[in-house]
C-alpha cells in the first residue's frame, strides 16, 4: 500500500516530441491517496493505459518523476515497484494449471511455500475457480482465463497498488456484476490502493470514491461522482458523465448574464476577458419545461421514454437540447425551458469558469 505521487509526469511515444499534441500523456501532477479506490474514465486512446504503465514501470515517462510514499521510483523496474496489474485481455500461462498460474508471481518473489498455498487457496475461492484448480489453464473459457489474470493480481496482497485496465471487457454481464462486487469487497477488506480503468461510466461511478476523467492525454477532472455531475470542470466531462450528457450552448456574456440566441440566462460568474469561446452548460436534469411566461421558448423534436422518466429533445435557439421530464408531468402546449440557476455553469474555451474566493 502506498501513496503515489506524480510530479510533472508526461510521456510521448515518439523520439522527439515537438508540439503538445505529440504527448500521449500531457504534463500531469497529482496524488493517488493510499488506499484510495480510483476509477480512471475516458474514451479509447486518451492515454489511460499509458498512465497505468507509467505507474507500474512498464513504461518510463519522457519527463517528470513518480514517488511511492515519498520515495522516488522513477527509474525503478517493474519488479522493484511491486505493483499488480491486470490487463484488458486475459494473459495466462498456457502450460500451467490454474493453481500454478496463481502461485507463479508469489514463487518468483520467493514467498514461502505454505504461505503460497494458503494465499492461492484463498484467491481460488475469491475468483470461484476452486473446482478447476488443477486443470490446465489453456482449456478454460475466456471468462475463466480473465479470472485467473485477476487472481494473479489479487494473490499478491502486499502490493503497493493494484491496477486494473478494463479487466471486465471480455466477461459476460452477470459475471461482471459479481466480480465487481467481489473487487469492491476486497478493497474494503484490504484497503489496497486501486486504480480501475474503464470507459463505462456506471462501472466507474459505482466503484470508486474518486473518479479521474481523462481526455486527449490530459486529466480534465478528479472528483467524487457527485462533483463530476454538478460541476464538470470541462465540457467533455459534462458530455461523458450522465446520460444524456450535459447541454452545452454557445453564448455571449455581459456581466453576469448570458445571452443564448437573444434569450437571457443568469450566470453565477462573469466571463474572463481573454476567452475565445463561451458556452453555458446545463444538465437535462436541471431544465424544467413550463407553459408559463418565463423561460426560453423551445420546440419539441421528440420524446424518449426510458421508464423512470422521459427525455425531451427540443430545439432551443437553433441548438438541440435534452431535458428530463418527471413521470406523470405533461408537456405544455407552448413549452419554455427554465434553467435551475444554481446549476448553470459557464465554460470559457471548454473549461469551467469558477467563482473567485
Amino acid at each position: 500500500m502506498a501513496r503515489i505521487e506524480f510530479d510533472r509526469i508526461r510521456h510521448a511515444y515518439m523520439a522527439d516530441p515537438k508540439t503538445e499534441a505529440d504527448y500521449a500523456l500531457k504534463e500531469l501532477s497529482m496524488t493517488w491517496e493510499d488506499g484510495g479506490a480510483y476509477a480512471l474514465l475516458g474514451p479509447s486512446g486518451c492515454g489511460k493505459t499509458t498512465l497505468l504503465n507509467i505507474i507500474s514501470g512498464l513504461l518510463h515517462p519522457s519527463g517528470g518523476s513518480i514517488r511511492f510514499d515519498g520515495k522516488d521510483v522513477t527509474t525503478l523496474s517493474t519488479e522493484a515497484r511491486n505493483i499488480a496489474q491486470v490487463f484488458q485481455f486475459p494473459v495466462i500461462y498456457d502450460t500451467m494449471t490454474v493453481r500454478e498460474n496463481l502461485a507463479f508471481p508469489l514463487k518468483n518473489r520467493g514467498v514461502a511455500r505454505d504461505e503460497i498455498s494458503r494465499r492461492v487457496d484463498e484467491t481460488l475461492r475469491i475468483i470461484d475457480l476452486e473446482e478447476k484448480a488443477d486443470r490446465r489453464a489453456r482449456r478454460l473459457t475466456a471468462d475463466e482465463k480473465q479470472k485467473i489474470s485477476l487472481g494473479r493480481g489479487l494473490v499478491r496482497s502486499d502490493v503497493n497498488a493494484i491496477l486494473f485496465d478494463e479487466p471486465l471487457t471480455v466477461i459476460d454481464p452477470h459475471m461482471k456484476w459479481q466480480l465487481r462486487s467481489k473487487l469492491k469487497e476486497l478493497h474494503q477488506r484490504f484497503a489496497f490502493t486501486m486504480i480501475y480503468v474503464t470507459h463505462d461510466q456506471t462501472e466507474a461511478l459505482t466503484f470508486a470514491d474518486k473518479v479521474v476523467v481523462m481526455y486527449e492525454g490530459e486529466v480534465v477532472q478528479t472528483g467524487t461522482p457527485d462533483e463530476l455531475f454538478r460541476k464538470p470542470k470541462h465540457t467533455f466531462v459534462g458530455y461523458f458523465i450522465g446520460s444524456p450528457g450535459m447541454n452545452v450552448l454557445p453564448c455571449k456574456v455581459s456581466g453576469k448574464t448570458a445571452s443564448i440566441g437573444g434569450n437571457k440566462v443568469r450566470l453565477p460568474v462573469g466571463a474572463p476577458k481573454d476567452a475565445k469561446s463561451l458556452e453555458v452548460g446545463i444538465r437535462p436534469e436541471f431544465i424544467t419545461l413550463t407553459g408559463g411566461r418565463t423561460g426560453i421558448p423551445v420546440s419539441i423534436n421528440r420524446v424518449e421514454d426510458i421508464g423512470r422518466f422521459r427525455i425531451v429533445h427540443a430545439d432551443l435557439a437553433g441548438k438541440e437540447i435534452a431535458a428530463t421530464l418527471p413521470e406523470g408531468s405533461e408537456i405544455p402546449a407552448e413549452p419554455r425551458a427554465v434553467f435551475d440557476p444554481a446549476n448553470v455553469n459557464l465554460y470559457a474555451d471548454s473549461w469551467l469558469v469558477e467563482a473567485k474566493g
Binding site: E79, Q85, F87, Y93, T95, M96, F104, P105, R139
Partner: protein, 287 residues
C-alpha cells in the same frame, strides 16, 4: 434432404486423381513391384516374395548406413533446433534491422543443393579452402577427403549452415505471434528471463518447432546431393548415409530388388517416426 446425384461430378476429381497417381502412387507401386522380384536383365522378372526385405534387414551394410543416418539426423537436429531458437530469440522484434536479418537468414535457403555441396567442398579443402586452410593453420590436422572425423565435421557443419535458417524463420514467426501483454504480465509477475522462455516463448513456439523438427527430420533422411557432392560417401563408406547407399545399390550395382526393398523400409521408417513424434507432440494440445 433432396440430393441430386450427378455422376459427372467424378470428372472434376479426375485431375487430382491423375496428379496423385503419377507423382506418388505409381512410382511407389513400381518400387513395391521391384522389391518383390528378381531380374537378370532383358526385362525378365521372377517373383521373389520377401526375400529382398529379409536380405536387407539382415545385411550389415544396411545396419551401418542406417546407424550413420541416425547419427547424422540426431546430430543436426541437436544442433539446428536449439541454435535456431537461440538466433530467433536474439533477433530484433521491430525496427530497421528486422528485414535485414530476415533476408540474411533466408539467403542460405536460396542456394541450390549441388551448389552448397560444391561450395563447401572447396571451402573445406585443406590446401586452398579458407576453412580447411585456417583449421590446419591452427595446428589441427584437417583433411575431409582422408579423415572420417573431418568428413563428418564438414558434412554436419554444411547442413547446419544450410538449414538452421529454416528453424530460425519458423521459430521467429512463432515468437512474433506472442502479444506484448504476455511480456508485460511476466514483468508484473517478476518472471525471470528463463521463466519467460520456459512458460511463454517455448509453449508458443511448440507448434512451429514441431513442424521444424519434422521437416528437418524428413529432409535429413532424403538428403543426397549435398553430402554426395562434398564427400561422395567417403572416405571409404564412413559418410555413406541411407540415400547415398540406396543410389549406390540401385544405380551403381544395379541391385534393383535390394534397392527397392531398402527404399520401402526407409519410407516406412520415416513415416513411423514422423507419426509417433507428431502424435506425441499434439497429445498435450487436446487433453
Amino acid at each position: 434432404m433432396n440430393k441430386t446425384w450427378n455422376n459427372k461430378a467424378w470428372f472434376m476429381v479426375l485431375p487430382v486423381l491423375l496428379l496423385v497417381a503419377f507423382n506418388a502412387v505409381i512410382p511407389l507401386m513400381t518400387v513395391v513391384n521391384y522389391s518383390v522380384q528378381e531380374t537378370f536383365g532383358n526385362n525378365l522378372f521372377f517373383f521373389e516374395g520377401v526375400k529382398w526385405f529379409r536380405e536387407v534387414l539382415h545385411s550389415d551394410r544396411f545396419h551401418d548406413s542406417l546407424l550413420r543416418q541416425f547419427f547424422f539426423t540426431g546430430t543436426i537436429l541437436a544442433i539446428e533446433i536449439p541454435l535456431g531458437v537461440i538466433i530467433a530469440l536474439a533477433m530484433p522484434r521491430q525496427g530497421f534491422w528486422v528485414p535485414v536479418c530476415l533476408v540474411l537468414m533466408a539467403l542460405p535457403l536460396l542456394v541450390p543443393w549441388n551448389v552448397v555441396g560444391a561450395m563447401w567442398n572447396i571451402f573445406a579443402l585443406p590446401d586452398i579452402g579458407l576453412m580447411g586452410y585456417s583449421i590446419n593453420a591452427l595446428g589441427i590436422d584437417f583433411n575431409f577427403t582422408r579423415q572420417p572425423a573431418s568428413a563428418w565435421f564438414t558434412v554436419i557443419i554444411m547442413d547446419v549452415w544450410h538449414w538452421t535458417s529454416l528453424v530460425v524463420l519458423l521459430a521467429y514467426a512463432g515468437l512474433r505471434s506472442i502479444p506484448d501483454a504476455y511480456y508485460q504480465a511476466a514483468r508484473i509477475d517478476s518472471a525471470s528471463r528463463w521463466a519467460v522462455f520456459r512458460y511463454i516463448q517455448l509453449p508458443k513456439m511448440k507448434r512451429v518447432l514441431t513442424i521444424a523438427v519434422l521437416l528437418r527430420f524428413m529432409d535429413s533422411f532424403m538428403i543426397y546431393t549435398e553430402p554426395f557432392v562434398l564427400t561422395g560417401g567417403g572416405p571409404g563408406n564412413t559418410t555413406t548415409i541411407l540415400s547415398i547407399d540406396l543410389v549406390k545399390a540401385a544405380l551403381g550395382e544395379f541391385n534393383l530388388g535390394i534397392a527397392a526393398a531398402m527404399s520401402i523400409i526407409y519410407f516406412l521408417m520415416t513415416l513411423l517416426v514422423c507419426w509417433v513424434f507428431y502424435s506425441a507432440m499434439m497429445r498435450g494440445e487436446d487433453e
